[in-house]
């Protein structure tokens, strides 16, 4: 299996930590993984994006130029990444903040109200987890359990209650309760 992912949004939406979390979960799952962030000048102006690869084979390039899945957390990211998605790929859109919709018809579009889910859990900063939940459901590349297992390794200073809320957001994003 091979799953190339791009995650994009504002700085502060947990874009980078989402990517690291996916990579860590993939590693614990025994997969080959890479994570590659946007950095330097690309980070100025408040947008952030990253590439993650989860694969059963050695990963050759960490920069995902034709993603199987794109997670779009804010409006500008949609226009930037819509052209890149592989035909037949998936675009997960945070419908709480993104009002536009892709014009392409050869990709699967999944709408998730990430911020609403986070607000319902009274933890507005974990909207990214709802998107990752949807990712698990849509791609099957990782299980929610695998991501939950990676959380304490990536969020080393998070309290257990916070990690529990993260898992709830993952589940809600996947349409589970």
């Amino acid at each position: 299996m091979y799953q190339g992912i791009r995650i994009s949004g504002f700085g502060g939406q947990g874009i980078i930590s989402s990517g690291v979390l996916l990579a860590y979960a993939g590693m614990l799952d025994g997969k080959h993984v890479t994570f590659f962030p946007s950095y330097g000048a690309e980070m100025r102006g408040g947008t952030a994006n990253c590439s993650v690869v989860i694969s059963s084979d050695e990963v050759t390039t960490p920069v995902v130029s034709q993603p199987d899945t794109v997670i779009v957390m804010n409006e500008p990211s949609l226009a930037k990444f819509e052209p890149l998605v592989k035909p037949g790929g998936v675009m997960i859109i945070n419908e709480s903040l993104v009002k536009s919709r892709p014009k392409r018809t050869d990709i699967k579009v999944v709408l998730v109200a990430c911020n609403r889910i986070a607000d319902e859990l009274k933890a507005p900063k974990i909207a990214n987890m709802a998107a990752l939940g949807a990712f698990c459901k849509q791609t099957g590349a990782l299980s929610i359990e695998a991501i939950a297992k990676a959380m304490p390794k990536v969020f080393k200073r998070a309290k257990p209650e916070m990690l529990e809320l993260n898992v709830q957001a993952l589940r809600k994003g996947a349409g589970l309760n």
Partner: protein, 363 residues
């Protein structure tokens, strides 16, 4: 030796160096290597080492010159423009026989260029870089795991032969995260034998001098020729490379670092189509695996060099194969990583050209 960790390449370099016994680091901010000094700034105090944010790359390499002269395993890192500035100190360290270790997390150039990963500093690394006749031991990792494990080897080779040693990597490998294991026991520098040239307290011995000059007529030549013997020994004994599927290959890709990863994708695709392609990856860029390439030249139809520079590695490959086989080139300079698909296309073009004029291309 250790658990599997998920680390950024730059962090792996820093942690790998600390575990290898590095106890002095001086650096200056420049993208895409900033994580290295950032990591060292908290990690060195933990192990009783020193970290200095220098006023410039020039100052940083000279701090290293001083620290290394005391026998301390010392490191600096920078990215292309900063490495240019460090060449003065590297030349002095070579001339003073000091075992310094430095890393170039290279970016696109020339000039300010960009901050993407690139390989345009190949000549600078393997041909000396600074002034005078000298050589630098150069390693080119192609994974985060190698980023973490190569610093120890660099220190050991640098100390054994008293030469500067460097890792030439790039922004992609520096910024990416990947699982790794540190495959060596942590080095406690206190257990290392103090070199008989190291500066310190001269109580009970003759005072020691470290320097790179000799104005007595003809004497410097003797010093340089003696050093050249060590260079010859390095060339004979310290070559590292990896070859994949070269045994039955009609065409062999030659690439190092991140470009070799793109090539391994191309090899997979080509093999799936029944094209016999191999990958030869120099791990040490100096010493260069000349003999191994020369031997391959007798068996293969052609070589295709894939490099993220205008055509630098290709020179070394051509010198090595002595025109026994055509050497084609696919060059992507100034911060572009080639894709497996485009390399596959170039493989086909090269095979079509056969023994004719080598194909040189970009894009």
């Amino acid at each position: 030796m250790s658990e599997k960790l998920l680390m950024k390449g730059n962090d792996a370099l820093a942690e790998g160096a600390v575990r290898a016994g590095c106890r002095f680091f001086a650096g200056y901010p420049i993208t895409p290597q900033n994580e290295v000094p950032e990591y060292m700034s908290w990690r060195q105090p933990q192990v009783g080492g020193a970290f200095v944010q220098a006023e410039s790359e020039v100052a940083a390499i000279n701090m290293l010159y001083g620290a290394a002269a005391t026998g301390t395993r010392s490191m600096t890192s920078s990215s292309s423009p900063g490495i240019s500035l460090k060449q003065e100190g590297i030349s002095y360290a070579a001339g003073a026989d000091l075992p310094i270790f430095f890393v170039n997390v290279a970016r696109g150039g020339p000039g300010l260029g960009n901050i993407s990963g690139a390989q345009g500093d190949y000549f600078q690394s393997v041909r000396g870089g600074g002034h005078g006749d000298y050589r630098t031991f150069v390693m080119a990792p192609y994974s985060v795991e190698e980023m973490g494990n190569f610093p120890l080897h660099c220190f050991e080779v640098a100390e054994k032969y008293r030469v500067p040693a460097m890792i030439l990597t790039d922004g992609v490998l520096g910024q990416m995260m990947e699982p790794l294991e540190f495959k060596f026991p942590e080095v406690d520098p206190k257990t290392l034998k103090e070199p008989d040239w190291a500066l310190g307290e001269c109580k009970g011995r003759k005072n020691r001098l470290v320097g790179s000059y000799d104005l007595v007529e003809g004497k410097l030549e003797h010093v340089t020729l003696a050093r050249a013997k060590r260079y010859a020994q390095i060339e004979a004994e310290e070559v590292l490379f990896e070859d994949r599927l070269c045994a039955d290959a009609d065409i062999v890709l030659v690439a190092y670092g991140i470009a070799a990863r793109a090539c391994s994708a191309a090899v997979k695709m080509a093999r799936a189509e029944g094209i016999k392609v191999g990958l030869f990856r120099p791990i040490t860029l100096w010493p260069f695996p000349k003999r191994q390439l020369r031997e391959l030249a007798d068996r293969v139809q052609a070589f295709l060099v894939v490099e993220m520079s205008l055509g630098q590695l290709v020179d070394d490959v051509r010198l090595a194969v002595e025109f026994e086989a055509p050497v084609h080139l696919h060059a992507r300079p100034s911060g572009v990583t080639p894709s497996g698909e485009e390399i596959l296309k170039k493989i086909k073009e090269a095979l079509k050209a056969g023994k004719g004029e080598p194909v040189c291309s970009s894009r």
